[in-house]
């Protein structure tokens, strides 16, 4: 029997490291079971998770396992009576989160040991690379990717084969293949999960790409905020090199390719491919004018090709299973599967990989289990700062580049943040503009100053100082930024504002005309009071008030000092009598 602890970043943050250590400490030399690690299974809402294997078969999944459960688990495993810890078994309902998925990019995540190349090879690892190097020409590889219909998973959805072909056709001996692992969209973490949990699949996909375009070096530009991903990637590169999979004459063939990574230093704009190239060259990450496109003159002005992590994670599977099998999934315009990071006010948050063509409603309600606390869904945000908010009445939209684009949002890299009735949509727009105005690289005037002005307008609206005509002013600024910015990030920066105006104009109007926040979130527009008739004087609110703003004697009605009140809402959550009111 083998116990495997999920130790991706989410698992560790939830305490998986302590659980692992506690079990390890209890084990002795007489124990016949083993303890191992894996990456992220993607069921973040159940972390820490332990999978129990009998041989290669998963016999039980234990969830919410803390260090306090270690002794009971070890006892049960030693006795061979897992039913003793049935309180930790995953429920059928929660298990359906994974059962409803089709995993290609995430096929190994949470199953293999990411620190062991043997574990990857045991699941057909590097067989696709071998097939490519020994039996296929670069043109045949590009053709297979073309058949698959694989499109860039970073957000734009550009056909992968087209970029590969352009780089292949570019003249020059020295070419580069680059992976964009600078997952900057706040709310998306699938790329981190792939690198942490299955780094070899990225290496294999990149080497296949390098062979296809004729690159002599492959480089991963990885986000510095992902320390575990960097450690696992670094380790995987060393192992692959030791086995002759990286370097000269890979697998005994004529193909040679070097492989390295560089840690980014924190700049959202580096997700734009020409900005990323500037950063790779040690400069400020500011986008270049296109053309020339990277395929002609990219890194060091040599032909380069850049794809996202998830794109590469699909490549080995496509080569082994055939492009047509990949293309059989999805819709007319969007093939294969897509990974989403489902978060926000959702019951079951985590990584969801499904074939394109399913509806948003299916993802949120059937897989994600619906809204936490059984509140009402208001919207789902897709595509991060470049995307938009899709309202409840459009949740039957299918997941497809075109269909999502028609709503004003985008497919994006896969962030899917669910919002309920308590989320203020004007506040949401302000949140994103705050982000883009800070992250604007400053090259283009419209983006640099326009986002600042938009942020100022949005700020005064949420503070209750909005003016008649502000919405129209925002719209005008949106258009000028869309027209006046050089890069994709600048051009899409207005999307969160445009979509919230389009679908939630009434919320803007309520803030501006009535100085009221319908969601009850904009703090400057709220006043907290305690209804003396309902208050029993239980003191719970006063004891839990972080600002010490509530006073009152036991069993007498309490009072909130509005000078001190930080409007955090803790009192509402704590009050069992519904005495706290917000106006």
């Amino acid at each position: 029997m083998r116990l495997v602890v999920g130790q991706g970043s989410c698992g560790v943050a939830a305490g998986a490291g302590k659980t692992y250590a506690a079990i390890k400490a209890l084990m002795n030399e007489n124990d016949t079971f083993e303890l191992g690690s894996t990456g992220c299974i993607g069921m973040c809402f159940l972390e820490p998770i332990i999978d129990v294997y009998e041989g290669d078969e998963l016999v039980k999944r234990l969830v919410h396992v803390t260090e306090d459960h270690a002794a009971a688990i070890v006892d049960a495993v030693r006795a061979g009576e897992l039913d003793r810890i049935s309180n930790l078994f995953i429920s059928d309902d929660d298990a359906s989160f994974l059962e409803q998925q089709t995993r290609i990019a995430l096929r190994n995540c949470g199953i293999i040991d990411p620190t062991d190349i043997g574990s990857y090879k045991a699941r057909d690892g590097y067989k696709a690379l071998e097939k490519v190097l020994k039996t296929m020409t670069p043109e045949e590889v590009i053709e297979e990717i073309k058949v698959s219909g694989l499109a860039g998973r970073g957000g734009a959805g550009f056909p992968t084969w087209f970029k590969w072909n352009a780089a292949r056709q570019s003249k020059g001996e020295e070419k580069y293949l680059i992976c964009n692992a600078d997952e900057g969209d706040p709310g998306a973490f699938m790329d981190r999960a792939v690198i942490e949990s299955d780094p070899h699949t990225l290496i294999e996909g990149m080497l296949i790409g390098a062979y296809a375009i004729g690159a002599s070096e492959a480089i991963v530009y990885v986000r510095a905020e992902y320390p575990l991903a960097i450690i696992n990637l670094n380790n995987a590169i060393s192992q692959a090199r030791a086995e002759g999979i990286i370097g000269k004459n890979i697998m005994g063939t004529d193909f040679s390719c070097e492989f390295r990574y560089m840690a980014g230093a924190g700049a959202f704009v580096c997700g734009e491919e020409t900005a990323l190239i500037e950063s790779l060259e040690g400069k400020r990450g500011m986008p270049r004018l296109k053309p020339p496109f990277p395929a002609a003159a990219g890194y060091k002005m040599k032909p380069s090709n850049i794809n996202n992590v998830e794109t590469f994670a699909n490549v080995a599977w496509i080569i082994l299973n055939g492009g047509d099998k990949f293309a059989a999934m999805g819709t007319e315009t969007s093939k294969g599967t897509k990974v989403f990071a489902l978060t926000g006010k959702i019951k079951r948050g985590g990584l969801v990989e499904i074939p394109m063509g399913q509806t948003l409603r299916h993802v949120i309600f059937d897989i994600g289990g619906g809204i936490r606390d059984d509140k009402k869904i208001k919207a789902v945000q897709m595509g991060g700062p470049s995307g938009g908010c899709i309202p409840e009445h459009l949740l039957d939209t299918v997941i497809d580049y075109k269909a999502l684009g028609a709503t004003g949002a985008i497919m994006g890299s896969g962030g899917m943040v669910v919002m309920n009735e308590d989320t203020c949509m004007v506040g949401m727009a302000k949140f994103f503009l705050d982000f883009t105005s800070k992250e604007s690289c400053g090259k283009c005037v419209h983006c640099r100053i326009g986002t600042k002005r938009m942020l100022e307008v949005l700020t005064r609206i949420v503070e209750g100082n909005g003016r008649e005509g502000d919405v129209e002013l925002l719209e005008e600024l949106c258009i000028s930024i869309k027209d006046g910015a050089l890069c994709g990030l600048g051009q899409t920066a207005p999307n969160p504002v445009l979509t919230t105006i389009r679908y939630f104009r009434d919320e803007y109007d309520a803030h501006i005309r009535e100085k009221r926040c319908p969601a009850g979130e904009c703090r400057d527009l709220l006043t907290f009071t305690i209804d003396a008739d309902k208050c029993k004087g239980c003191t719970l609110c006063a004891r839990n008030c972080p600002a010490a703003a509530i006073t009152g004697q036991v069993k007498t009605p309490h009072v909130i000092d509005n000078e001190k009140c930080i409007k955090c809402g803790q009192c509402i959550k704590n009050c069992k009598f519904g005495a706290v009111q917000v106006m």
Partner: protein
């Protein structure tokens, strides 16, 4: 750095990185990351030193150092609180967590407490969205925060610190 011409240990470590990076301006970001790891921040004299060693102007090095959010031009406290303000954390109340931390420590985003114990930095996304709101103190992540929980965690660090001082 000391006044004499000899090089201290930190400088020698930085020299190793410079050597490994071939004194190449193309590796400037990696060099600065290494310098920051050694010194805890990027002191002005190091900016000049790196510029001289890589053959580019100090202004360009400074340009890079100020462009990326990872780089700091001032020292940070013993415990660096990275408070996530990503989308999921925002939706789940990162704003009130920030207020609670700021009130508790008497500092704003980007500042350090007078005793040099805590620095607060808000970051775009730590990638632990399902545990939102999240903060990370040095390398330890804390999820599902409430204002009270966040303050309790800070107090834990404080009492550990005081306990350490007594011992």
């Amino acid at each position: 750095m000391c006044e004499c011409s000899c090089k201290d240990e930190k400088m020698l470590t930085l020299d190793e990185t410079l050597e490994k990076c071939g004194h190449d301006a193309g590796n400037l970001i990696t060099i600065l990351q290494s310098a920051q790891e050694i010194y805890g921040y990027l002191p002005a004299e190091i900016i000049y030193y790196v510029a001289a060693q890589t053959g580019i102007s100090p202004a360009r090095v400074m340009g890079v150092a100020t462009f990326y959010s990872q780089f700091r031009l001032e020292p940070v406290g013993k415990y660096l609180i990275m408070l996530c303000k990503g989308t999921a954390c925002h939706v789940n109340g990162a704003g009130v967590i920030e207020t609670a931390i700021c009130d508790e420590l008497g500092i704003k985003d980007g500042q350090t407490t007078e005793d040099g114990l805590f620095s607060l930095k808000t970051v775009a996304c730590l990638g632990c969205c399902s545990l939102s709101p999240v903060m990370m103190i040095n390398d330890e992540a804390y999820g599902s925060l409430t204002p009270n929980k966040a303050v309790a965690i800070l107090n834990d660090y404080r009492s550990r610190e005081e306990g350490g001082a007594e011992a």
